[in-house]
């Protein structure tokens, strides 16, 4: 039954009138000469916003005044114990990380996006590039000593988070009302490596070569999300890395900073560079937007 394309129905044993035919044929003609979104199975076009950067390393800048070790933007410290900070980043507790009163226990890189029209957020990707042998970007994210909680020597850290928060249009500018739409966290990072750290390449490197270092590190992904983003929404992608400056074990005993290979110190208890400075970043947000009329 052609119930949708036209309301005119023709049946046997009734007169097939000219007007009835004309009306139903006009409906077909109008429908096909001005196809509406409801009749298109694929009215959405993918869009991708790309960002990232390569961090500078303050320990390689010997002429800086000591003991100033500036922290780089865009990573900012997170102070969950201070209002309203407890709502800026939600649900990102880390194993055994102490929260001293004066420093945050996390670094957060926040990417703000604004959508005037509704879109469908499909994928969020984050690549943390590290060199194969760790010469320039040396993170390998393992514990050298007993880690906090159940983590042992050689275990991978579980303190990385990537999440999408939506500032809903009917509860704007109030972080307590932001929706954590998706969260990737509390996982052992070795599940997210791009591939085995060394070897396994077929064929040559791409050009230009960078000291022979090819793709390596972590690739975090939240895919097939199909998150509907309402019109006039602000969406924030949060990349949360741990600050291990004051790591404690399960008994809340401070752990030597050298216990984890995601922060380096100078052997005298001074942090040279923190977790955010030990890898190169690439992120991408993919969403589907409607075609326009």
């Amino acid at each position: 039954m052609s119930r949708e394309i036209t309301k005119i129905q023709h049946s046997d044993k009734t007169v097939v009138s000219g007007k009835g035919l004309d009306d139903s044929f006009r409906d077909v003609q109008d429908r096909l000469n001005n196809v509406e979104q409801r009749d298109e199975a694929s009215p959405l076009i993918p869009q991708t916003i790309i960002g990232g950067y390569q961090p500078r390393r303050w320990d390689w800048q010997p002429n800086l005044p000591s003991p100033v070790r500036p922290q780089d933007l865009p990573f900012l410290r997170h102070y969950p114990q201070f209002s309203p900070e407890e709502t800026r980043v939600k649900g990102t507790d880390s194993w055994g990380l102490d929260i001293p009163t004066s420093v945050g226990n996390q670094y957060v890189y926040t990417i703000p996006l604004r959508f005037r029209e509704p879109v469908l957020l499909t994928d969020v990707d984050l690549t943390l590039y590290c060199d194969d042998d760790g010469e320039w970007f040396p993170a390998d994210w393992t514990w050298n000593n007993l880690g906090p909680g159940p983590l042992n020597t050689g275990d991978f850290v579980e303190d990385v988070y990537m999440q999408v928060q939506i500032e809903m249009p009917y509860a704007e500018r109030d972080a307590t009302q932001d929706v954590v739409a998706t969260k990737l966290g509390e996982f052992s990072v070795d599940a997210q490596v791009i591939s085995p750290r060394t070897g396994g390449w077929t064929g040559g490197d791409m050009s230009p070569a960078i000291d022979g270092y090819r793709a390596s590190g972590l690739h975090l992904q939240c895919e097939h999300l199909n998150l509907p983003i309402p019109a006039n929404s602000s969406v924030r992608l949060l990349i949360v890395l741990p600050n291990y400056d004051n790591v404690v074990d399960s008994d809340l005993t401070p752990i030597d900073r050298g216990a984890v290979r995601w922060v380096r110190d100078d052997g005298s208890g001074n942090t040279l560079y923190s977790s955010y400075a030990m890898q190169n970043y690439s992120w991408a947000v993919t969403y589907l937007s409607r075609k326009e009329g």
Binding site: A41, D59, Q61, P70, L76, I111, D205, D211, E223
Partner: protein
């Protein structure tokens, strides 16, 4: 092709041909596919994102009374099938329209200022009540001429076509917090043969200007430029003499035809609703067939799914739209000068060496782009930024000298290399690269690849003398791979379009592709190294000099600028089809 029919006014005898005309017209429209002019959603869309991870107070230093500005140049060249060698816009030239922009940065979800990395009392700190220092100025310019090699150079010819000043008090309210925000209704037509550039200023970040006790920085500045654009048919192998590289071989981009079989009314037969044979028109039966094909659940299909697979039948012809990605390179560590090169925390070279007498490292950066939906790359453009204005070096130890920057092309051994490749093996075996584009720019050949050179607004420039070399930024075409020289499809030699996207069992077999661009090595086309398994693109940019990037090289001075404020960009443009979600 639209559906056409003869009207059936009251009193006209209903004959078979009057009914059959409609059937024939509908069959033809479906089998030949519906054109965009018959779609209510007849325009495409592409969003162009600009992301700067760190904007710092020294970038707008007014201590030398010259001030400075962040510039982001870009251009949206036509796809290869739309290219016109005379580079003029006619009524047939597809164009875009900038409709709206959104702007945002990280303010920790509070009406606060964030201290600058160079603030001597500590960076990244929350400075309450300082948000009013975030007054921002955004201006969009269009270049009125192009500095191509064959024409007279005039780097500063530009017209301002849009300006926006947002007072910092918008970001200082605990209730509104003002951002991210969006400006609608801009509606600026974009000429595909012109260069555009944004000038971005935060003039009050420096404490000597704002009056606040600390210098401020702007973390994670993000702009999205939303464009309305034209719909086009997706690329097929047959569209180009040299084919489309790496396109799935099972379809070569071609669309499968939908056949809608309706009745053939015959003269003299009675017109019925449902009973009878094909000659009786069986009106209701045929209306049901049309309804079933067009409306839910089947609907009219087009595009590619995530695995580069089109629908088994497609009824819409123009299913693709223009796209352009802006990939930031050297963003946070921009403004790299020869005199500072060993002092600013760069990898790939000796570290901690106070002496800049002979630094034998290289400059390098890389980005990774996931291929969530397939695209066909038509071109790559490198935006090389040399904008390095004077600044007050007190409390800004990154800069040895206070003068303006100079171009690096004075050194005959300097090389700036930009490459794009597809990559496979993420969380899997068969890790491989397939080169897509490459250029090794030197002082000898860089003018052969230039698209435009840009000087910031004003004559003399309003915002200080960024680079004494005459221009502040240059746009270069980076050719796609191909064995032979190929002209007439872009500003310079360029390989055929290059398809990239994930695959499944049916789409893994791909057409051959080149090894390197003809001008940079060439090589016979062959099976792609990624074997249809690409998952990401990798973009790399390196700079090197066999005689050293440091002033020990007699052709380099302290002020030689390798990367300017805000870093460089790689623009990747082409076509992207609608998403077939199955």
């Amino acid at each position: 092709m639209s559906v056409e029919r003869a009207n059936l006014p009251r009193g006209v005898k209903i004959t078979a041909d009057l009914v059959g005309d409609l059937y024939d017209s509908v069959e033809s429209q479906i089998s030949n596919r519906i054109e965009s002019e018959d779609l209510k959603l007849s325009r495409g869309r592409f969003d162009f994102g600009i992301h700067l991870p760190s904007i710092e107070s020294y970038m707008f230093d007014s201590a030398t009374n010259t001030e400075s500005v962040l510039m982001v140049p870009y251009t949206f060249p036509p796809t290869q099938d739309e290219w016109e060698d005379d580079q003029t816009v006619s009524e047939l030239t597809p164009t875009h329209t900038l409709e709206s922009i959104s702007v945002g940065f990280d303010q920790m979800r509070m009406p606060t200022g964030i201290t600058d990395p160079w603030d001597t009392n500590g960076a990244g700190q929350n400075l309450s009540d300082a948000a009013s220092a975030y007054t921002m100025e955004l201006e969009l310019f269009v270049r009125t001429t192009r500095a191509l090699p064959a024409t007279a150079d005039n780097y500063t010819q530009a017209t301002r076509i849009y300006a926006l000043e947002i007072d910092g008090t918008l970001f200082a309210s605990s209730f509104t917090q003002g951002q991210p925000f969006e400006i609608e209704g801009i509606n600026i037509p974009i000429d595909p043969y012109k260069t555009y550039f944004w000038q971005i200023r935060f003039p009050n970040l420096d404490q000597t200007v704002s009056g606040f006790p600390r210098d401020l920085g702007v973390p994670s500045f993000t702009m999205i430029l939303r464009h309305s654009t034209y719909l086009v048919s997706r690329d097929t192998t047959g569209d180009y003499v040299d084919g489309v590289q790496n396109i799935p071989s099972n379809t070569n981009g071609n669309k499968s035809t939908t056949t809608l079989t309706l009745d053939n009314p015959t003269v003299g037969s009675a017109i019925t609703a449902e009973v009878g044979a094909s000659g009786n028109a069986r009106v209701q039966r045929n209306l049901d067939i049309i309804d079933d094909r067009i409306t839910r659940p089947k609907r009219l299909r087009a595009g590619y799914n995530r695995y580069s697979e089109p629908p088994t039948s497609e009824e819409i012809e123009q299913d693709s739209s223009y796209f352009c990605w802006a990939v930031p390179m050297f963003a946070q560590i921009g403004d790299i000068r020869a005199s500072d090169i060993n002092l600013i925390g760069l990898p790939y070279g000796p570290q901690g060496d106070f002496s800049a007498t002979s630094w034998d490292g290289i400059l390098a950066d890389r980005r990774f782009i996931p291929l969530r939906f397939p695209v066909t790359i038509h071109g790559v453009i490198a935006v090389h930024n040399f904008y390095s204005p004077p600044c007050n070096t007190t409390n800004k130890p990154r800069r040895v000298g206070a003068g303006s920057g100079q171009l690096p092309w004075a050194s005959p051994t300097f090389t700036s290399s930009i490459g794009v490749a597809a990559m496979s093996g993420v969380r899997g075996e068969r890790k491989a690269y397939q080169q897509i584009a490459l250029a090794n720019l030197t002082a000898t050949n860089e003018s052969s690849w230039v698209i435009d050179r840009v000087k910031q607004d004003g004559q003399p420039p309003i915002y200080g003398l960024g680079n004494t070399g005459g221009y502040d930024q240059a746009l270069y075409q980076i050719p796609l791979v191909h064995p032979n020289t190929r002209t007439g499809f872009a500003y310079h030699d360029n390989g055929p379009p290059f398809f990239v996207g994930k695959s499944n069992l049916y789409t893994a077999d791909r057409e051959n592709c080149g090894v390197l661009p003809a001008a940079f090595g060439g090589g016979a086309a062959g099976t792609p190294n990624t074997d249809g398994c690409e998952q990401m693109l990798e973009v790399r940019w390196t700079m090197s000099d066999s005689a050293s990037l440091s002033p020990s090289n007699t052709n380099v001075v302290d002020q030689t600028t390798y990367v300017g404020n805000g870093g460089n960009w790689v623009l990747i443009y082409g076509k992207r089809a609608v998403a077939d979600m199955g």
